[in-house]
């Protein structure tokens, strides 16, 4: 919707703005609009399109003077801060409700209430292992809720569990050799606010225990 309004606005503004450069370099206006749109998308939801057009018009007609870019940083940072906080909150709510749903599904096991669940994809050997040592040999694929792969190691690597996110460290407990689990991890047990890929993202790890 914003995009449509933006293009309509640009069309309307083309009558107000000087047309001198348009004849010689028609693509500059169009491409500049694209560049501007890219910036605007970053602040989507935090600006008024009407005010933006009015300011552009005032600048173009000399009704106001341009100010140094440094003076604009404060409001842009504040806007980003609001957006980051909103994103965090929305993602956290989504994570909570996602895991509440997972909890109801058949085949899922709970390790930590509301925070960590798994299902077995491949059953491992029958032999029980006592304790998994601190650096088991594992292969893994780390994904987001919508399936985007964040990291993977299909060949296997020994990772010190004391240096991993809690979700993996706890989720691997009780696995048998050859077992493949899909861990569903709440952001509190993963990267929390760190945007991997976004603040408060659910992380799904497919992990196979190759050797304890």
């Amino acid at each position: 919707m914003n995009k449509v309004l933006f293009l309509m606005g640009l069309f309307a503004l083309s009558f107000c703005f000087s047309g001198e450069t348009k004849e010689h370099q028609p693509n500059v206006s169009e491409d500049l609009a694209q560049v501007l749109w890219n910036v605007m998308e970053t602040y989507e939801g935090e600006y008024s399109l009407q005010e933006l057009f009015t300011t552009l018009w005032k600048l173009n007609t000399g009704k106001i003077e341009s100010k140094p870019i440094e003076e604009c940083y404060h409001s842009l940072l504040t806007s980003m801060e609001i957006k980051a906080a909103k994103k965090s909150e929305i993602n956290l709510q989504a994570a909570n409700s996602y895991l509440q749903n997972i909890k109801q599904l058949e085949g899922f096991h709970e390790l930590i209430d509301g925070k960590l669940y798994y299902r077995v994809i491949e059953v491992g050997s029958e032999q029980e292992i006592g304790e998994i040592n601190d650096a088991p040999l594992i292969s893994f694929t780390e994904k987001t809720m919508d399936g985007k792969v964040l990291s993977k190691n299909p060949l296997g690597i020994r990772l010190p569990l004391s240096e991993t996110i809690i979700g993996l460290r706890e989720g691997i407990k009780g696995m048998r050799t050859g077992e493949k689990r899909e861990l569903h991890i709440h952001p509190n047990l993963a990267y929390e606010e760190f945007p991997k890929p976004e603040p408060n993202s659910i992380i799904i790890i497919e992990v196979t225990l190759i050797s304890p």
């Binding site: 004391s162 991993t164 990267y191």
Partner: protein, 319 residues
């Protein structure tokens, strides 16, 4: 007499420690709950940076976290801009809250400051004793930047007052500036010299009447020749030695990850620097940082995180 002193020390030390803990906890109690949460998240973000946590827990004399405000106006020119923008905005807010309460928590061993220059801003954590030692040991390098009559204490004060961070544009010698910063970051003299050689070579290349983009891609990549600078070179240039130097620099320099790069689940952000893997200091640095990773993760997961981190930051200087 010694036994009596020892007895009193054994009784008094835990009491003093307990009192210090209570002081930190009671000072935290003076902070409204919402601000406490903001501060907890702020410090968690800062100390999940290798640069900051190795300064707090390890041997690094100084660590920094930098942001470029140009990202706000040209996000499309950066990779994953939202990631940086979010962190930048959250850290800026965290600092504003910290400014309100920092007087309650005097950081005796450290100096924690926010710096701004041109379109850059960032945070610097200085381990006072270690940073002063670096300045004292390499006084000539630092004096090249601030004047030969300035003593180590004055230079140290300048560092603590933020007069060192981002002042590329006003520095009289860019190479000395890089050297001073590299030493303060704890990368070791050999790596710093390699980095400075690379920069010197870069300046020479920029001064030549050739299009640098026509150079082989591995050279362009190695030297990261994105910006166009034209420093004045006063000495004559031997082209044959330039080729030898280029070959040597390409062979020697690489971006070194100081964290375990194959562990994507390490909740600590990578600390990286340009250096030479063959220098003993490089491997020493990597293995020393690797050893600290477990401690940093434990710290990150501490239940009373804010109290713990503020206790570490405000700890008395151990003599």
């Amino acid at each position: 007499m010694r036994k009596i002193s020892l007895f009193f020390m054994m009784i008094l030390f835990p009491l003093i420690t307990l009192e210090a803990q209570e002081t930190i906890a009671s000072r935290i109690d003076q902070i409204p709950v919402h601000d406490r949460e903001v501060l907890t998240r702020f410090f968690k973000r800062l100390f999940s940076h290798g640069d900051f946590s190795y300064t707090l827990l390890g041997q690094k004399p100084m660590g920094s976290i930098d942001y470029n405000l140009d990202l706000l106006t040209f996000p499309q020119f950066y990779q994953e801009p939202h990631k940086h923008l979010f962190l930048m905005a959250l850290d800026e807010r965290g600092w504003r809250v910290w400014e309100k309460y920092q007087h309650l928590f005097p950081t005796r061993q450290y100096r924690f400051i926010r710096l701004k220059h041109d379109s850059f801003f960032g945070f610097i954590l200085i381990h006072k004793e270690k940073a002063f030692e670096v300045i004292r040991h390499h006084l000539t390098t630092f004096q090249e930047l601030v004047g030969k009559n300035t003593d180590a204490s004055e230079i140290f004060e300048m560092l603590c007052e933020g007069e060192f961070g981002y002042y590329h544009s006003s520095t009289p010698s860019l190479l000395s500036y890089y050297k001073a910063l590299g030493l303060l970051y704890g990368y070791g003299e050999d790596n710093v010299n390699t980095f400075v050689s690379r920069e010197r070579l870069l300046q020479t290349l920029w001064s030549l009447p050739i299009s640098l983009t026509t150079l082989p891609s591995d050279i362009v990549g190695c030297l990261e020749m994105g910006e166009n600078q034209s420093p004045q070179i006063t000495e004559s240039i031997e082209v044959s030695s330039l080729i030898t130097d280029l070959k040597m620099i390409i062979k020697q320099t690489e971006l070194i990850n100081t964290n375990k790069e194959h562990n994507p689940f390490l909740p600590i952000k990578k600390s990286r620097f340009l250096g030479d893997r063959n220098h003993p200091k490089t491997n020493e640095t990597i293995s020393y940082f690797d050893q600290l990773d477990g401690d940093i993760v434990k710290l990150h997961e501490t239940e009373n995180y804010l109290e713990t981190i503020l206790e570490l930051l405000t700890a008395e200087v151990v003599k």
